[in-house]
């Protein structure tokens, strides 16, 4: 009897050890648990900086993984066959419900990419405690990094989720366009494009003016779940949106000497 008691206590202790924390969920809305990832973007960007640089940046650009896990696995397998991809841009709506479990699942799938990936916050990611969870697992909502003379300015444009006038942070955005001899071009990356109804319309004129005035090479987005490429404001400023995962296609973009070319790859 005594032996059985001790065995039972031992099993209980094993169950309660940190490695099993995932199973003992405190809430689906908790912002982290015993083994959730931290600082994914910073780690992946560091990985990117360790990769060899040539005269062309090759980016696999796609948006809106949400609840499309089957398609996410296929996407990763396809990108890995291409070989030449420098990094993958996941342009927001990483999750469908803003839950920790979803961030972990998508990161688990994307960790199988040979190339590093960068995640952008989308409106679905802001739901419930999603914003805090994104901040902990991926990193800052607004951040920039330079790779091969291009400064990628990644920022939050999910205006629907905040009071008017706050998002995007125009002051922060203006500060990113620094005079840096190492930077030849700027590429803006965010989830909601300014021409979409879910963008904060009070900020649309100032935002699009800023991107135009700073000679931004191109602005990349997700959110609308389909590919679009053009000059919606007729001001020479190019905007491109990519597919959602259920469309089973993505944009393979090449940037070389300040020229953006692309092809659509199905998977």
């Amino acid at each position: 009897m005594k032996m059985r008691c001790w065995k039972g206590i031992l099993y209980l202790l094993i169950l309660l050890t940190p490695g099993c924390n995932d199973v003992f969920e405190f809430s689906p809305n908790q912002t982290f648990d015993g083994d959730s990832p931290v600082g994914i973007n910073a780690r992946n960007i560091e990985q990117l900086h360790n990769r060899p640089v040539d005269d062309t940046i090759t980016i696999a650009f796609i948006g809106d993984s949400q609840r499309f896990y089957d398609e996410a696995i296929r996407f990763v397998d396809k990108v890995n066959t291409l070989g030449s991809v420098d990094f993958v841009l996941l342009a927001g709506d990483i999750t469908d419900f803003g839950l920790l479990e979803e961030f972990e699942q998508i990161n688990g799938i994307f960790s199988k990419l040979d190339a590093p990936y960068v995640g952008v916050i989308g409106n679905h990611d802001v739901q419930a405690r999603g914003e805090e969870t994104f901040e902990r697992t991926f990193g800052a909502l607004n951040f920039s990094f330079v790779y091969d003379s291009i400064k990628f300015i990644v920022h939050n444009t999910n205006g629907r989720e905040y009071p008017a006038g706050q998002v995007p942070d125009l002051q922060w955005l203006a500060d990113q366009f620094t005079d840096d001899p190492a930077v030849k071009n700027f590429v803006a990356v965010s989830h909601v494009p300014p021409f979409d109804r879910d963008f904060d319309k009070t900020l649309e004129p100032a935002y699009t003016q800023l991107l135009h005035d700073k000679n931004t090479l191109i602005s990349l987005h997700g959110h609308i779940h389909r590919f679009k490429d053009g000059y919606p404001y007729n001001d020479g400023m190019r905007y491109m949106t990519s597919h959602s995962f259920d469309k089973r296609a993505f944009v393979l973009m090449k940037i070389s000497n300040g020229i953006v070319t692309y092809s659509i790859i199905d998977y």
Partner: protein, 183 residues
């Protein structure tokens, strides 16, 4: 007359008083939670209300109210004073309080809600496996039960159903451990 009135009131109060108190670790309704409940359907069923919290240093802060309904189909008598319930089935609804959690009050400017689900409310399917010790009827607590409860919520289940070939079924399932004290 006053005496009989108070006795009647006491009788009423006794009948209204909860049948058990329960405390739980994890199980998606808080880091720790406490609740009160009633036995129903001739003690085959249990209905209870819980309040749980998740502190900031463990992924909160979160405050969660939960209602549970469980039903027992199969009970095994291990001895005169010990019973085992291999798998009771249950339904739970949890409600997270706070500004981050909405019940989708319709947007004033559009008649439709933008998001189709409630961030505040989760529905859970659950099972409970428990071991009970029946104590002397003279004691304050007549029965002590320890249990392990497994659950999954509506959003996890939906994600799994729509991605069955790629998601692991075991990732759906979350666990909690609890103790119930019957008065």
């Amino acid at each position: 007359m006053y005496c009989s009135f108070s006795l009647a009131a006491l009788g009423q109060a006794q009948r209204a008083a909860p049948d058990f108190f329960v405390t739980q670790y994890a199980g998606s309704i808080g880091f720790v939670s406490g609740g009160l409940g009633y036995n129903i359907f001739k003690s085959k069923g249990m209905v209870s209300i819980h309040f749980g919290t998740v502190p900031k240093n463990l992924g909160g802060p979160l405050s969660i109210f939960t209602a549970k309904l469980f039903y027992n189909f199969w009970e095994v008598e291990l001895s005169k004073r010990m019973t085992f319930r291999p798998v009771d089935v249950g339904l739970m609804v949890s409600y997270h309080t706070g500004d981050d959690f909405k019940s989708n009050v319709p947007d004033l400017f559009t008649s439709k809600n933008y998001y189709w689900w409630y961030t505040s409310m989760r529905w859970h399917l659950a099972t409970e496996t428990s071991l009970s010790v029946h104590l002397s009827p003279n004691r304050f607590f007549k029965k002590f039960t320890t249990y392990i409860e497994l659950n999954s919520n509506d959003l996890y289940i939906l994600s799994y159903i729509t991605n069955a070939s790629s998601l692991n079924l075991t990732r759906l399932i979350r666990a909690g451990l609890g103790a119930r004290f019957n008065f």
